[in-house]
Amino acid sequence: MEEKLKNIKLYLFSIFGSLFIFSSISANAVEIEYWQYEYGARVEAIDKLIANFQSANPDITIKHTYFPYADYRKKVAIAVAAGDGPDLVQLYYGWLNDYRDTGLIQPLPKDVFSHDDIESNFFKMVSAMKVDGDYWGLPTAVRSLALFYNNDLLKEAGLSGPPETLDDMVNYAKKLTKRDGSGNLIQEGMAFDGGIGQTHHFFREVLVRHFGGKPFSDDGQKVTYNDAAGAKALKYLTDFEKTHKTTQNGFMNRGQDAFAAGKVGLYIDGSFRISKFKKAEGLNFSISELPGHNGTRYNFSSFWANALSSKAEGAKKDAAAKFLKYLTSDEAMQIWLDTVGELPAKPSVALVDENKQHPLYGPFIRGLDYATATTFVSEKPQRQSIVDAYDMVVLQDVSPEDALAKVVKKEQELFDDFFGN
């Protein structure tokens, strides 16, 4: 018995001893954690950037963690709350207020990221990350929307070139829709996912503006798309499914899957979708700018930002800031564009002629010129508003006016809660 106890003591001693030695060896080296969601090309790009960064900074090690998008928000919140998790974290710009309010992230140190530098070098939309005089994150890349179209299907329908106006788009969609003998949809003219994906952005920032409205008041505290313009915009959007019957929510799972399978004529999405469609066998597609209306064009821009989590302190914070500096460098932006297909966050890198005339990225980059980034209070419930309004009109035959009145009332409550009115 005594003998055994001695053994155990010795064993424990050796464990703690080795832990102690190990920790003193690594005192100079810093290990930080970087978190993002799992998406093939993004993971690949960050791995490349980490490798570059580590060879330039051998004393910093970066642990790259990623997991499915569905769990992303929850895991980040719970991990940081438990004093665990990332030092540097990716977040969708629409979540800024959620993350800031819950104390998940901290402001960027001004000595490393000077405001003058940010404001003169980055696209204007990055100002969405500035709250209360501080920047809370910076993007490597930005996004905008464009119209993907299937060349073979357009040719088959006798159409040449992409639709240039909203009215054109309806006519194209009708001509590109196919049904079988018993009337079942077998090819979508224009695919929308009933509010999810990029559709709600397209509605808010493109359609509402085209029909003469504005999604939110200038001070960002009032939801204003429940007017005649909003109703027209919602009618335009829902008519594709309800009246023209060129789309069916859930057809082949999602619009992007149906488009990749060559069963969709027109489809709106971001540049990050290019890599998926490039890999789709037998798909012959092109990209154009979003159709205009009455001679103007609108677009929606967005981005994922990198932010310092509230957990990062001391040496880790310095290391994380250093890596963030690299992530937002010109070099990183070009790597990101080439790997992921998202557009550089600085005009000086994005708006070079080579990129502007690029057959695939060009339309997105040109779209950045006339794009707006929505300032979300909370992205998820606000997306749900559009999804619900869409469903009320399509599934329950509610008028667009009534549907908007209902969802905007709820969205406004969210705003009032947030702004403390």
């Binding site: 959620d98 309010d101 104390g103 018993s182 079942n184 999804v387 619900d388 599934l395 329950q396």
Partner: protein
């Protein structure tokens, strides 16, 4: 010191202490991971808390907001619908299957296994398969079958009216195996002599069913009702997996209480409101359990 204390005890005392030591494990386990969190949930339900900051006492405000929330009443009604429709349907099917399965010998084991497999399958994996079954034409299995027999396509998950039942179907199916096995056990436990006596008295099949089998199965049935009611009131995996964006849509048509709690807690970080909803669910489950225990006690009183 410990040794002398131990040696001064009588054997009876030693036995009691040993027993308590073993019993202490589940008690400590329950206190730390069941009772303490339950207490916390009650406590947090009176707070405003976003997971990271300090908790702020706000009285009954969380409950008042829930009471005034239109969605809460839809969600509560959905939850009740899952139970009051799902439980009778699943018990009826499982009893019928068990009744006939009990009468056959050939293939009995195989068929019973076939019914039991869904019970062993991960709910999420199964829900995904069903989600694809419900797709529109070029993919969806159900719609393809409907078109073979000339019935128009159904929207299933994309319909405010059909979605709840479409989500309920795999949940019912998954629970059948368990219920059938319990029912068969119950049927086998009825003494053969009862049936023989009934036959001698010239009772028909229906009479045997009504006068012997059903009364004899009452304890089994009550047990299954309790278990499956609680199961349906806590439905989550199927809805989370099968509804678009895991939102419990379309238009909240499939959203149960548990999903609402989950959304408040981990999407909007409103832990106070989520805890208040948890307390409501707790009370609902408590009410159902007490009601059913009371029904069960009636049975003993009769005996």
């Amino acid at each position: 010191m410990f040794r002398s204390f131990w040696e001064n005890l009588t054997i009876k005392q030693k036995l009691a202490i040993t027993a308590w030591l073993f019993l202490a494990i589940p008690i400590i386990f329950y206190i730390t991971i069941r009772f303490y969190p339950t207490y916390e949930a009650f406590y947090v339900s009176f707070m405003k808390w976003n997971l990271l900051g300090a908790k702020k006492y706000i009285g009954f405000k969380n409950y008042i907001r829930i009471w005034g929330d239109e969605d809460f009443w839809i969600v509560l009604w959905n939850t009740i619908k899952y139970a009051i429709i799902g439980v009778p349907i699943s018990l009826l099917i499982s009893f019928t299957v068990a009744y006939y399965l009990n009468e056959i010998r050939f293939g009995h084991q195989t068929i019973r296994a076939l019914y039991f497999i869904p019970f062993l399958t991960t709910a999420v994996a199964m829900a995904w398969v069903w989600r694809w079954f419900y797709q529109p034409m070029p993919i969806g299995y159900f719609n393809i079958m409907l078109s073979w027999i000339g019935i128009p396509q159904q929207p299933f998950l994309r319909s405010v009216e059909q979605a709840l039942y479409s989500v309920m179907a795999p949940a019912v199916w998954a629970g059948l195996g368990f219920q059938i096995v319990i029912f068969i056990a119950g049927l086998r436990a009825i003494p053969k002599s009862h049936f023989e006596a009934a036959e001698i008295d010239g009772a028909g099949r229906l009479q045997i069913l009504r006068e012997i089998i059903l009364p004899a199965l009452k304890p089994t049935t009550i047990f299954l009702i309790i278990i499956s009611t609680i199961g349906f009131l806590r439905i989550f995996d199927q809805v989370y997996t099968m509804s678009e964006d895991s939102a419990g849509g379309p238009l909240n048509a499939t959203k149960p209480l548990v999903l609402m709690i989950y959304d408040f807690a981990f999407d909007e970080f409103k832990l106070g409101r989520a805890s208040a909803l948890t307390v409501i669910l707790f009370l609902l489950l408590l009410f159902v359990s007490i009601l059913q225990l009371w029904l069960a006690r009636n049975r003993y009183a009769k005996k």
